[in-house]
């Protein structure tokens, strides 16, 4: 009698349960994964589109941009130009994954191994997620956000709420702390915040303005200009990279509910920030996990070869990496890169070559490849992971080469290829291309004189001569002005020389 978990394409909830238990046994006992409890839900394509538009979250406050996304995805899906994902998984405790109802039983098994164990383990163990996200509280927070926005709409009007949210969304990427957590509010502060939210207490900013105007004048009079500046900067914690945080704390015009809206957008942006930094690792981890699990399932005779072939078919589609001159090429595929790197780490542990021993003395030949892998999953993000683990072997396999594009030159130059001279350069350039701090423009609040002209002064540190897209920049500045209430200026400076490149202001 065969001990197959399932036979045939149709899935039922009993079969899903059986498959889940079998996968869990392999994942926990053999691979030693550490996961949140799983909550697996089966959803229709319509619900999947809904989830898409709400940036993959089960709950989201209302905003027209989500409807816009829905309209686009729906049209693409309906006209057959874009398929839907097999699953969506949410970094929460319990870990919720949404599987599409139209998947076959084999696909459901694959998807469970991928999301409910691969992604789940990564969410629970990676340091970025551990430090920056609160998996247990996210649902409650989203529910609060949704209600809060809905209540604001009711009280202050849809247009008023939309105005703030539009502006806050424009600053989403500037709404995260990149290098350190903000100081945790004390218990008293939390209570004070609560009172503010309820609208019982007068606004903090009014108090500040009043203090600046009455008390501050005398104090400033005797001191030098520089002294006033440094005092101001000290008080407002400047320079500040988190524009939303700064506006929430110091904008002279916002009322308490508007500040709360900024905080909501900022929290959600911060919650998403680790995911943006770990695309390769997250997908790599999940793909590696499902690959290991389905092979073990086959070895244990738990799935038929037909089901295995179906899973492998979809697996190979996922890890396909078209070459640069292929019409399908759209950048490096995070699934392909992540999966290949993790398979490579296992290879280095199990069958190291002399080259590997030279490049990876710490892990080459390490008998505990599972331990090495779990350490990598826990303690790296894309940038550092690539910098640490991309091997010459893999660079050759992907035939990576580097193009340098200097606007001053007429042509692009092939600056490195997959040879001994190029390995390190390619590795560090590739790693840097996954560094969000490098990819996203570095914009900080420099100064704002509340007792003076109240102009909000921003600085854009221009690296490698890459400036901001002017049309977008000017639109965002308009939004910023709305939140700040007074004029906003943005100065672009060359990071190396400090030379001023451009200066724009909302003041006419």
């Amino acid at each position: 009698m065969s001990n197959l978990l399932f036979d045939g394409p149709e899935w039922t909830f009993e079969l899903l349960g059986k498959a889940h238990d079998a996968i869990e046994e392999i994942a926990i006992e053999e691979l030693g994964l550490d996961v949140y409890p799983n909550q697996i839900e089966i959803i229709s394509s319509e619900q999947m589109l809904d989830a898409y538009s709400a940036v993959g979250m089960p709950l989201m406050y209302q905003h027209w941009s989500y409807g816009k996304r829905f309209a686009r995805d729906e049209a693409l899906y309906r006209t057959g130009r874009q398929g839907l994902a097999y699953e969506i998984v949410i970094n929460s405790n319990p870990c919720i994954s949404y599987n599409m109802e139209e998947n076959t039983m084999a696909m459901q098994t694959l998807v469970m191994a991928h999301a409910a164990f691969g992604h789940n383990h990564f969410f629970k163990n990676n340091y970025l997620f551990q430090q920056w996200t609160d998996a247990a509280g996210i649902h409650d927070y989203l529910a609060f956000a949704k209600n809060f926005v809905a209540n604001c709409e009711e009280r202050y009007g849809i247009d008023a709420v939309e105005e703030i949210l539009d502006a806050a969304h424009a600053l989403q990427s500037q709404g995260v702390f990149r290098y350190g957590r903000p100081p945790r509010p004390s218990k008293e502060e939390l209570q004070a915040m609560q009172r503010q939210r309820d609208g019982y207490e007068s606004q903090q900013s009014v108090l500040e303005l009043w203090a600046d105007n009455t008390l501050g004048k005398d104090r400033l009079e005797g001191s030098e200009e520089d002294g006033a500046l440094s005092e101001r900067r000290g008080k407002m914690n400047l320079p500040q990279e988190n524009l939303l945080y700064f506006l929430e704390k110091h904008s002279p015009v916002l009322t308490s509910w508007q500040r709360e809206l900024l905080r909501i957008v900022r929290y959600i942006a911060q919650y998403m920030y680790p995911q943006k930094q770990t695309k390769v690792m997250n997908e790599g981890c999940a793909t590696f996990t499902h690959y290991y699990i389905i092979n073990r399932l086959l070895e244990k005779d738990l799935i038929s070869e037909g089901a295995y072939m179906e899973m492998m078919h979809s697996h190979t589609n996922v890890v396909l990496q078209p070459e640069y001159d292929d019409p399908r090429y759209g950048g490096l595929n995070p699934y392909a890169l992540g999966f290949a790197m993790m398979q490579d780490i296992r290879r280095i542990c199990e069958e190291p070559t002399d080259e590997d021993r030279e490049w990876f003395p710490d892990i080459a030949g390490n008998p505990d490849w599972k331990g090495v892998m779990k350490d990598a999953w826990a303690n790296y993000r894309d940038e550092s992971f690539i910098l640490q683990f991309l091997s010459p072997n893999l660079i050759r396999k992907f035939k990576l080469f580097m193009l340098s594009d200097d606007a001053k030159q007429a042509n692009l130059v092939v600056s490195n290829i997959h040879n001994r001279q190029g390995y390190r350069n390619i590795r560090s350039a590739l790693a840097r291309s996954y560094d969000l701090a490098y990819l996203e423009p570095d914009i900080q609040v420099d100064d704002a004189d509340l007792s003076g002209d109240r102009e909000l002064k921003l600085t854009h540190a221009v690296r490698d001569g890459i400036t901001l897209d002017p049309a977008n920049r000017d639109e965002v500045l308009k939004h910023l002005r709305r939140l700040w209430g007074y004029d906003v200026s943005l100065t672009a400076r060359n990071t190396e020389t400090g030379a001023r490149i451009s200066h724009v202001s909302t003041a006419a």
Binding site: L171, Q321, F401, M402, L403, D405, A410, I466, L468
Partner: protein, 407 residues
């Protein structure tokens, strides 16, 4: 957007496209963010799949940014987000004419005429053969044959064949003849059964049926009158075309049947087709009354006023010969206005001719005379336009649901 689709369509064909694509300008739904410019500066890209590059090779810079493919410009040159959706014709017109209604100033008794038509009314078991509904009949027949187990022709034929084969073999054995007898009997039973359960039985028959119905018929005819003398250039004609088209679309929605008559005139008038109306070149003087006379004649000939709702729309640059304007006024007073549901006169003035645009007191001879008509008949309206943007607002103005604002 609406304006643009008006620009591209013909008057009578305006409502023929079944779907109208509307693109929302990007401004409304833009989600800006601080983004790096795709051009300039120093960048390094790591790409997979090197074939034969060696260090130092140079590649010409791909057009449109350093391989990062910037946004493509929208067709109108203005940056667009490409967010578009498709409206059906009805939705489109619904939006276009939202809040407009027909001028119901002079409700004639004869706005709607009644004729007798027929309407489908399901199926009956009796009827004439020409109304036989084959699909339903055959479906009943098939169902009955299956239910009563009528032997199929194929089974009957097969048996016959077998019998024939047996008979052709010369075999004197008992088995053989017994078999033949058996088959004959079987065949006889089948045959009887087939006769008993007919292929088509009278109870299978179904007929389409129609019931007579009174149909309230409403018809309208739109007269488009245009001055095509030398002073009417491409711009003026384009403006006029837009106005006529909107009117036609609007009436098309209100009436079951709408006809459109094009009358162009110089110093003489003639009825022409649409193509000639808008595009043919013509020179000559300008006598507006000829067109009105022509219109009057056509109404008398073809459109009895007790069956047709008559709409007039006239476009002109305001020039007229000598004291012909008085004649126009008289024609309108005596002959046309009493039979017209509505008459709109649109004068096309030079771009930036603000003095005329904003002051309805001033104007040439024709304008002054028509003003008298305007005062006497509520269903007469006159407006001035100078640029495409004016057409739609004026049209809305003319047909605004609340007449008080428009007057």
């Amino acid at each position: 957007m609406v304006d643009k689709s008006v620009r591209d369509k013909s008057v009578t064909g305006a409502d023929q496209g079944s779907e109208e694509k509307v693109t929302i300008p990007a401004k409304g739904i833009k989600e800006p963010f601080f983004a790096n410019s795709p051009k300039g500066g120093f960048r390094q890209h790591v790409l997979p799949g090197n074939k034969d590059f060696v260090v130092g090779d140079t590649i010409p810079r791909p057009k449109g940014g350093a391989g990062e493919g910037g946004k493509k410009g929208a067709e109108d040159g203005e940056g667009e987000d490409g967010f578009s959706f498709t409206l059906t014709k009805d939705e489109y017109l619904e939006i276009l004419f939202e809040g407009l209604e027909l001028p119901d100033l002079v409700k004639k008794n004869t706005v709607e005429t009644e004729t007798v038509g027929t309407r489908r009314a399901g199926l009956t078991t009796a009827g004439t053969p020409n109304n036989l509904n084959l699909v339903r009949t055959m479906r009943n027949s098939l169902g009955r044959r299956i239910a009563l187990q009528r032997p199929s022709t194929a089974a009957f034929k097969a048996l016959e064949e077998e019998l024939k084969n047996l008979e052709s073999i010369e075999d004197e054995s008992e088995d053989h003849s017994a078999r033949i007898v058996e088959l004959r009997e079987k065949l006889a039973i089948l045959d009887r059964r087939r006769k008993l359960v007919g292929y088509i039985d009278p109870i299978d028959l179904r007929y389409d049926t129609t019931v007579p119905e009174k149909i309230r018929n409403s018809r309208a005819v739109v007269f488009c009158l245009m001055d095509v003398s030398g002073s009417m250039q491409e711009r003026e004609k384009d403006l006029a075309k837009r106005f006529f088209m909107l009117l036609h679309l609007f009436l098309e929605r209100a009436y079951e049947h709408t006809e459109i008559v094009f009358i162009r005139h110089t110093h003489q008038a003639q009825e022409v087709d649409e193509e000639t109306f808008f595009y043919a070149k013509e020179t000559g003087g300008t006598i507006v009354s000829t067109a009105l006379t022509e219109m009057q004649k056509i109404i008398e000939d073809r459109y009895p006023t007790d069956e047709w709702n008559i709409y007039g729309a006239q476009a002109s640059d305001g020039e007229n010969f000598g004291n012909d304007s008085v004649k126009c006024k008289d024609l309108l007073f005596d002959a046309l206005m009493p039979v017209c549901q509505y008459y709109a006169y649109v004068e096309i003035v030079g771009e930036g001719d603000d003095k005329l645009l904003n002051n309805s007191e001033e104007g040439a001879d024709l304008w002054q005379n028509l003003r008298e008509v305007d005062h006497a008949f509520p269903q007469f309206q006159m407006r001035r336009v100078a640029e495409p943007g004016h057409i739609y607002p004026i049209f809305r103005d003319l047909f605004a649901a609340n007449k008080e604002n428009a007057a």
